[in-house]
Each structure stands twice: as structure tokens, then as C-alpha cells.
Symmetry: C2
Subunit: 489 residues, 2 copies
């Protein structure tokens, strides 16, 4: 079956028989889909979820589970962190741009506490514990962590630092550790099904069905190649995830991710984006990407990270995803970690949830000059960097990049360096342009009647930057909005 | 009139009367449009150009006029430069990516000599003279120049350097200097009109008209608010330029250009892209941008360019557009030029076509340490950079970035620095995805029947990188293809 027959909309008048029908049809049973289904059902709609795989979860169930929330959530308050919606908004505007959807950021920051409470009311557990060490995720079941560099330069001078990475409590390790993402999805899926939401598995989203006024009234889905016509009386919600696994879209929109998809699932083939494009949907920020960096944050914070020219380029104690973006986009994917023996040992002695980031050093040397030569850098390239760093580090300062004093120490004695070139991978953040009610916007700026979307098939909070929890965050938040709006449609 | 009524396609069955008709209708009378019109007319079609302003030219007529051509053009040969299509292709693949349309690059490199000859045959004059100095444009009417960093690091080690910036000879300065772009457009417009191409001025492109099979059969255009229905029997060619002046598209697709459009005209409002999106057209590389850097290349090559941390980041003798991209995208738009008095005087003494780039230094000092402090850089930040540079420059080398020996000299004596933060501006390179026949591709991958496009409303040769002449180059090359394909349709 060609892409064309999958993508071009079908006129409702040519559908002779509808195989299924619901008030609201949701395509994709990940975080955005489940939240849409719950809210649509609560608003009185008969809801049908179409899921391509054999079970609920999507990429969400495999994720670490961060949901980016703040503005003074009960969890933040219980753990002694002050935050306000305005403070959260200030940070997000600085960290996620340039070009963010300002209305969406303001809306999300203002609705964040209510959204936290909604998640808890729907069974998502958060343990009242804070993890304050550098890292990608908490090592145990701590519920709160910095997940976007809020407490690092340059953002700690722009907005009052508050941790906003909320992690659902993981199941007891004795009975098999489940990720935070699984523990987010499970109660929500149970809630949806308790509300009478129906689910059809092994059904792939295909072309959309429109009436003579170009209103979306259904969808053709496929089960093992057989087409099924499904009627959506009030609305269709697209919640089908990113385009990280659609090769042509990656090449055409986000080419820096060629060959390096991560934290996505192969079902993320952009289909939700493409069927909406076929109706004239507008896109946004298609080049934006989350970028993971596979260096141990406990070691990175204690050393200096240099690019292919031996120059520092980022405060090493910031959010690892920021390091990933800076390395991939600004440093041609070239990074080396230089650390002295004492700091290396100190870092190794820490507890971490990500031991697979640990590897032996690539080079070891007694002097910077020797290390520089071993790394193939021009004479003085690394020495000059270390001289400047050490001069200020002796006073506990980092005027060049603003690493916090607690991580600043002159490099001395035996040194090691890790070759971290190409140590990045990520997923796409761009997609359909939607409004605050998750209506899919036509290129004209008007909503496409009957069509809603949320999650990573949309452009959400992130334009250029990223924070861990933004995807499950805007996916769940605007998934809910999609469900409400579709049910009322 | 809302954007919606401008953008949503109109069914042909609802058009009661056609005001105009042609075999091939071309929207936009810039470089892509004029080339499409010429080839369509030569293929026997009756051609009508719709132009929004009162005259031909578009952005092309105001441009410097570079057309990127190579592979052994007669001009390259006459001036003693060897080049082959394969060599040109190798360079373009390295310089314009990642994510380039490889088929288009191969096609363009192979067709480049023929395209040069076609331009000459249609009256475009090129003077047999080479300009080899750093700069944006030749200062006089030289016809050939390096325009993409072919002879600078890293590309001079990847492909054999050959200059490919072909500039139409400017008119006699005595009778008023006309830009190379004007001298490109003038003979082509005269050729088009000699072939009987009709032109309607002051007509703005509006919504497309499609038949019941979604084939494009015409367009609604507007003259002073009044709608005019124009029938295109064989095809419609979109040649309406970039989206540099559509604020929402810039924010959503290329936000680094917010507030800094350049080398575009206000008519570049993305209309051609949007009317095609409304039919389900696929896009590509919407974040890609040309970026000008407003520093005098004669001075830049002689000094060192440092970022906001006092670190070098690019070979200073490369194509200024590469410096612009690196500064804006990789260095947060922070750049400073540091130069010593002797090199400054030497640079000032050169001839340049761009005297408006010249400005007095922001700081002057007797030592690097003093300059560093004046610039507000941390102690040793700039000194370390200069120490490393000078060490190798004493041997005429630049192992860090590969600046060519002819420009490498230790910085010594009195020093000056120029604050070049924010000294960038540019235009957009992304747009409609088209095939080698300039057919606009639907998101399904199939061509949209009856619809063709070329120039900056399409994604052409450039993905991430840029070379001067790529826009007039692919605009003219694929404009021709569009004309041929539409006429045969």
C-alpha cells in the first residue's frame, strides 16, 4: 500500500459502511491519548481508542517518567521548594526558546498545579522525596528533581531555581522495577477503562475521512492490511507520537538526528502529522529535538567538558539534555570530558541511576600537555583552557560559564579524558500547530473542524530548548484539553 | 480578508467566470518565475506571469547577483580553474548539509555547465575576470569569485577548490551602477517578453483553484482587493519567494531570524508555501537560513574572531556566510574581532566593495590582558586564545581551525577589538519539497497535479549550509525545469 492511499483524505460520501463508531476517537494509547480519553469520557462522550500495538503505553510507558510541573505543586511545597506560575513561566520562556508559543507556556504554567492534582486524583503516585544530585533520573523512587538546568547557569540568574521534574513512584523493586513512565501510564489506563473507554488494539491509523465541508468525521484504520472505517461523531484526537522513525521526515526536517533516534519507539513514524498535513495543517518547530548525552552527569559536573578544539562550552553542572543539545547542534557532536584523578574517584563513589553511562577513560596522563598531545589537540589548546579554568577555580569561581562553586575545583595531579564524540541521540519535538484547546490549526490559522491533537505529534512547549518532563507534561496537559474539546464539539 | 479565505482551495465548479486564461500561469516575476516563463514559452505554451509589484525583478534584481555554477563552466575554464561536476557535488554535499536532497545536488552539479551556457545565450553577461580577495562580492565587475568557502578549511581538504560564484557583469558605473542581480534579471525579462510572455502587474497570489480530482487548474489573484479568477490549463508555477517576512512562520520555523530579516523583500511573505500547504504539500528544511555577517571580510581574515567566551570558532578566511551561520546558530550571535594595528592598517588599505561594513574599533589596548579586561572577559580567557594562536602563527600555521598560511600572523603590538554581537541577518531557505521536475510533492510523496514551484518558496540545494549563488542558482535552474514540466503537462 502506497503512502498516498494512506494519506489522502477520503470523502465520507464514499464510505458505504462504518465498521465502528464513537463520539470521540483517539488515535494512540500513550500519554496524550489516555488523558484525552479520560477527559472525553468524563465529559460524557463515548470514547474509542485505536492503538497500533498490542497494549497501552506508547513511548511514555518506557520513559523515565518525568512530568514537568511547577508553580507550587503540593509536592514542591511538601519538599520545601517555593515556586510560582510566573517564575515557572519566566524559566520556560528562557529555556525552551527561541520562538516558543508564549500563550501555551503561560497557559501551561498557570494550569500546572491543577494538572498535578488531577494526576494524583487519577492514581499517579509521587513520593515526597527530593533527589538533588546531577543525573538524568533519580536512582530510587524520589519524586522530585531538577530536570532542566533551573539551578544552573544561565537560568539560575534568570528565574528563582525550583525543581519541577515530577517522577511517579516506581513499583517495589522486589517485584520487578517498573519505570516512572510505566507508573504514570498504568493508573491512567486503568482510569480510562473504568470510565468505559473502549480500546481496539492492532489498528494502525490511516487516512482521515472528511465530509463535504472538510470536517473530520472519521478515520480509516488498518488491521493486518484490512481497512476498517471508524466514525468519530464529535471529534478525532491524534496522539500518535513523534516522527523520530520516519527517515524522510528526519532528513528533511531534523537532519542532525539522522542515525541517532532515541527515547522514542519505532511506532513513532509521524503518521499523525502526515495525515493532518494532507488536510492543510500547519506545522511548527520541526527541527527541534531533545538530545540525550551519554556521559555520566556525576563525572561531567566534576570535570570540564571541552569541544573538538579543547574549549569549554557549557556549565558542566547543568541539565544533561542541555549539554546534549549544545554538543550536537553547536559543537558538531564533539565533546571530551577532562577530569583529574581525585574528582574521578569522587564521582565514581556516588550513587547513580545510570551506571551504563560509565566507561573507562580513553586517555590518562600526568600533565595537561601530555594529555593534550594524546588527544591530538594542538599545543596549548587544552593547556590554555585548563589554565583559565584553574586560575578562577582556585577562588571557587567559573566566570566563563558559571558552573556553581560546589563543582568548581582546579584540575590537578593525574588526569584522564573521555572521548565523547558522537555520544548523543534524541527524539523530535516538532509537529502540528495546535491552539490551547488542542485544536489542529490549518495553515490559514483556523482550526480544522473535528480534528484535535496532543503529545509529540504536535509542537508543544518546546521550540529550541528542552527540559525532561516537557513531553509527558504537554502530552498529558494538552491531551486532557483535546479530550474536553472533542467531547464538547 | 482573513487568511483563511486567501488560503483554502476553491473548487473549479464554483468559478462562474474566468477573467484570464493561459496554458501556464507563473506566480512571481523574480528569477525563478522568469526562467519558468521562458522555458514554458519555448516549449510552446501560452504563458502569463502574475506579479504582485509594479515591475519585474523580485529579490533577485536587488541581489548581488551570484549564481552558483561550476563543473567546468566556460568562465571557470577561461580563468584557469579546473572543476568537474563530481568535484562540485562533493563540495556541495559537504557544505550544504546535513540532510541535503542528494538527488537534487547531483542533478544540479551535472546540469551546471549547460545552465551557464543557457544564461549566456539568453543575454546574461559575465566578464572574464576573477576576484580572489576575501569579501562578499567583487568590488568591480569581475565575473568569478569564491562564494562558499571552497578554498578555506575544512572544505579545501574535502574537494579541490574552485570558485563557483558567477556574477553577471554590472552596467557601466558612469550611467549608474546596477547590481549583478539586476543585470541577471534584465536580459531574462527581455527574453521572456520577446517570446510573447504576458505579464499582469499588481496582482497578488491568493487561493488555488482545484478540480474535482484535486488537480490545480487556476488561481484566484487580487488586484486592489478585487478578486480575479485565472485559469491555468497546463500548470501553475509558484515562484513567490521566501517566508522571511511572515512573522508567524519565522517564529514557528526559523526563530533565530526573529527581528533580523535581510536580503529579502517584504513581498516574501510565504504565500506560495502556504497555498500549497493547504493542498497537503510537504515541506523541507524550514529552519535553514542564509546568514549574513556584517564584518569586513578583509579585516576578519587578518584578525581572530572570538565568541562570547573569547574563544576562536571558525577559520576567519572562509566565506562570510559561513561565519554568519556559525555566529548566529552556534555562538548565540556573539562575535568579536581582535586584530593588531599592523593587520588593521593592511586590511583598511585594501579595496573592498563593502565599505559600509567598516566601523571604528570598539576597544583599543596595548596588551591582550588589557584588551581582555576592557572587553569584560574573564582573566586569561582571551590571553589563552591569543597565546595558542600566536604560538602556531609564528610558524605560519593554524592547527586549531585551518586558516590558510597567507592570513596567519601572530598578533602583536597595539590591539583593537570590534564588538560584533548581533551583527547577523538573513533569509529563509526552507519551503516546498519538489522533485527534479519542480513538481510540488504532496506529503504522500506523489506530485500535486498541475502544481510546480521553484526558487525560495521551495527547499532547493541547501539544508543547513549556504553558499552565495545557491538561491539565484537553484531558482533559475529549477525555474527552468518548472517551465518545461508545466508546458508539457
Amino acid at each position: 500500500m502506497s503512502d498516498a492511499s494512506t494519506l489522502r483524505p477520503l470523502r465520507a460520501s464514499s464510505v458505504t459502511e462504518w465498521d465502528q463508531q464513537a463520539d470521540v476517537v483517539v488515535a494512540g494509547y500513550g500519554i496524550a491519548g489516555v488523558c484525552a480519553a479520560i477527559e472525553a469520557a468524563r465529559a460524557g462522550a463515548d470514547v474509542l481508542i485505536l492503538e497500533r500495538t498490542g497494549g497501552w503505553g506508547g513511548a511514555a510507558a518506557m520513559a523515565g517518567g518525568f512530568i514537568y510541573l511547577g508553580g507550587g505543586t503540593p509536592l514542591q511545597q511538601a519538599l520545601g521548594f517555593e515556586d510560582t506560575p510566573e517564575n515557572m513561566e519566566t524559566f520556560l520562556l528562557a529555556a525552551l526558546g527561541p520562538g516558543v508559543d508564549k500563550a501555551k507556556i503561560a497557559d501551561y504554567a498557570r494550569g500546572s498545579v491543577e494538572h498535578y492534582n488531577w494526576l494524583v486524583a487519577n492514581g499517579v503516585p509521587f513520593r515526597e522525596a527530593f533527589w538533588g544530585e546531577p543525573g538524568w533520573e533519580p536512582p530510587h523512587d524520589e519524586g522530585l528533581m531538577y530536570s532542566g538546568g533551573e539551578n544552573a547557569a544561565p537560568f539560575n540568574a534568570i528565574a528563582k531555581p525550583a525543581p519541577r521534574g515530577h517522577v511517579p513512584q516506581m513499583a517495589d523493586k522486589k517485584i520487578g522495577r517498573k519505570s516512572g513512565g510505566y507508573m504514570l501510564m498504568k493508573p491512567l489506563a486503568e482510569t480510562a477503562e473504568s470510565l468505559g473507554v473502549r480500546v481496539e488494539y492492532d489498528l494502525r491509523l490511516g487516512r482521515l475521512i472528511v465530509d463535504d465541508d472538510d470536517r473530520v468525521v472519521g478515520v480509516i484504520a488498518k488491521r493486518y492490511g484490512k481497512e476498517v472505517a471508524i466514525r468519530a461523531d464529535r471529534g478525532l484526537v491524534l496522539a500518535t507520537g513523534s516522527f523520530a522513525y520516519h527517515q524522510q521526515m528526519i532528513e528533511g526536517y531534523a537532519p542532525r538526528l539522522i542515525g541517532r533516534p532515541a527515547a522514542a519507539i519505532e511506532e513513532h513514524d509521524g503518521i499523525g502529522i502526515r495525515v493532518a498535513q494532507a488536510l492543510g495543517a500547519e506545522l511548527a518547530h520541526m527541527d527541534a529535538t531533545e538530545v540525550a548525552f551519554f556521559g555520566d552527569p556525576q563525572l561531567v559536573a566534576r570535570g570540564i567538558l571541552v569541544n573538538g578544539r579543547g574549549q569549554r562550552f557549557i556549565a558542566e553542572d547543568t541539565y544533561p539534555g542541555r549539554i546534549g543539545q549544545a554538543t550536537l547542534i553547536q559543537q558538531e557532536n564533539q565533546a571530551f570530558l577532562v577530569i583529574d584523578e581525585a574528582s574521578y574517584e569522587a564521582g565514581l563513589a556516588t550513587e547513580t541511576s545510570t551506571p551504563f553511562f560509565r566507561q573507562p577513560p580513553t586517555w590518562a596522563a600526568e600533565t595537561v600537555a601530555e594529555l593534550e598531545a594524546d588527544m591530538g589537540l594542538p599545543t596549548l589548546a587544552l593547556q590554555a583552557t585548563v589554565d583559565c579554568y584553574n586560575l578562577h577555580a582556585a577562588d571557587g569561581k567559573d566566570p566563563l560559564l558559571g558552573k556553581k562553586p560546589e563543582w568548581v575545583r582546579p584540575l590537578q595531579g593525574s588526569l584522564a579524558a573521555f572521548d565523547m564524540r558522537g555520544f548523543t541521540a534524541g527524539f523530535t519535538l516538532g509537529g502540528l500547530r495546535t491552539d490551547l484547546d488542542s485544536r489542529v490549526l490549518h495553515v490559514s490559522g483556523e482550526p480544522i473542524p473535528g480534528l484535535f491533537a496532543a503529545g509529540r505529534c504536535t509542537s508543544g512547549l518546546c521550540a529550541g530548548g528542552y527540559v525532561s518532563g516537557a513531553s509527558l507534561g504537554d502530552g498529558s496537559f494538552y491531551g486532557r484539553r483535546a479530550g474536553v474539546a472533542a467531547a464538547k464539539n
